[in-house]
Symmetry: C2
Subunit: 250 residues, 2 copies
């Protein structure tokens, strides 16, 4: 049980943020997350606060671009870690179903217990949503070149042979390694300065549950791929934060 | 044990930040922290990253001012929560010893187990450092007006009758309630926009372990109290962040 459960009142000005936090805490109790997951979530909360806890225009542009690349891909895949599954597991399965692609669990601190808990949770959601999305990651048979240890493990019928990969909340090393494999790497990350945001093909600076909801709406529109400038779009996110911080006390 | 323990290498560019994170994770395992403590720590990490993970000039000005108010106070007290104790318990005891004042444990989610764990940890540090700092908070006999529930509990010989209070990592409600009691409230908070930073007497926008080390150095200098403008000083911190975010991608 989350300590602050009793203070989450729908009239609270930060109700959504507190409910999202609760999902992470509950998943932690279920053994789905590494110790560092809550710390990572807290970092995200801080950046989201600076963005105003809403989808800013540059984030919507990046989201549309990511959807365009996913619907036009030959072998798209959605890579999921513990936080992504805890926060938006059902939405990611819906997205995968819309795209006709698999999801693959690929976690930084891989243990059999955590993998089992995450696979079980996604299977439960698959059944609840009456979907039949392929859930990969349990039986890795390939490696992401340049990544040592269990975090480099992946599947040949998923991440390894994909051409386009959606990676919410990815660490910088793995993002760079996926780019080096020649893939289009679409990242969801609230920190516009993170290595993942800077090194990927399309960086969406937005909160993951807002992004999945936007993507589910956008997929039926089948947007076209454009000449996207990731750096320019990230600077727009930074400029939005700068505007929010300027002359607060003058 | 912390999952990422094995990746904390002293040559890592963010070694200090990772070691600080480890202290929080270890304290969590010991039962010293609420579920939300790691999330709060993550928020702090994000703001510290934006500050450049160092004491910026406006933070040093605020630290000196806080030290001046503490050394000139009649009944100073240091209020400690779980994260403050986990991160800098020994340094806070050293500070209290220098000031000849008590520390009082005052936690948001109060349970007998957590209080016991925190008091035990401070007693162990007291003994290890050969100090005799009074540790309050275990037997509350007064209430902070306007705060409901266990988080309002305090001691008459500590927080309740203090004139000046150092509150690292305080929540906004309690900061406002302490100011309303007529106290000088000195806050350590990495978020210059938090309610605690905005509502307190002196807001130090800096990481708690850096602040305590600076304070321990400054106390023997016995600085004088000045005409401190908290809003102006917070805007200086925001302007520092703005500078760090400007033209990153151009």
């Amino acid at each position: 049980m989350l300590d602050e459960e009793n203070i989450v009142d729908p009239s609270h000005p930060r109700y959504n943020s507190l409910m999202i936090r609760k999902k992470i805490a509950d998943a932690g109790v279920k053994g789905m997350l590494a110790d560092s997951a809550m710390i990572a979530h807290g970092r995200g909360e801080a950046y989201d606060y600076l963005l105003g806890e809403r989808t800013i225009p540059s984030a919507m542009i990046a989201t549309k671009e990511a959807v365009a690349r996913l619907v036009n891909a030959e072998r798209p895949v959605i890579s999921l870690n513990g936080n992504a599954i805890a926060l938006a597991g059902a939405d990611f399965l819906t997205l995968a179903s819309q795209l006709g692609c698999p999801v693959e669990i690929n976690i930084f601190y891989r243990t059999p217990e955590r993998m089992g808990s995450l696979i079980g949770h996604l299977k439960m959601l698959n059944s609840k949503l009456e979907l039949d999305v392929e859930i990969l990651g349990g039986i890795p048979d390939e490696r992401i070149p340049g990544l040592e240890g269990p975090r480099g493990a992946c599947q040949s019928n998923g991440i390894f042979n994909s051409d386009t990969i959606l990676v919410p909340l990815e660490d910088g090393d793995r993002c760079e390694a996926l780019v080096a494999m020649g893939k289009e790497v679409l990242v969801i990350d609230l920190n516009p300065l993170s290595r993942s945001s800077r090194k990927c093909t399309v960086g969406i600076v937005d909160e993951v549950t807002r992004v999945t909801k936007n993507m589910i709406q956008l997929i039926p529109e089948k947007p076209n791929v454009s000449d996207f400038d990731n750096s320019k779009n990230l600077q727009a996110a930074l400029d939005h934060i700068i505007d929010n911080l300027s002359d607060k006390f003058n």
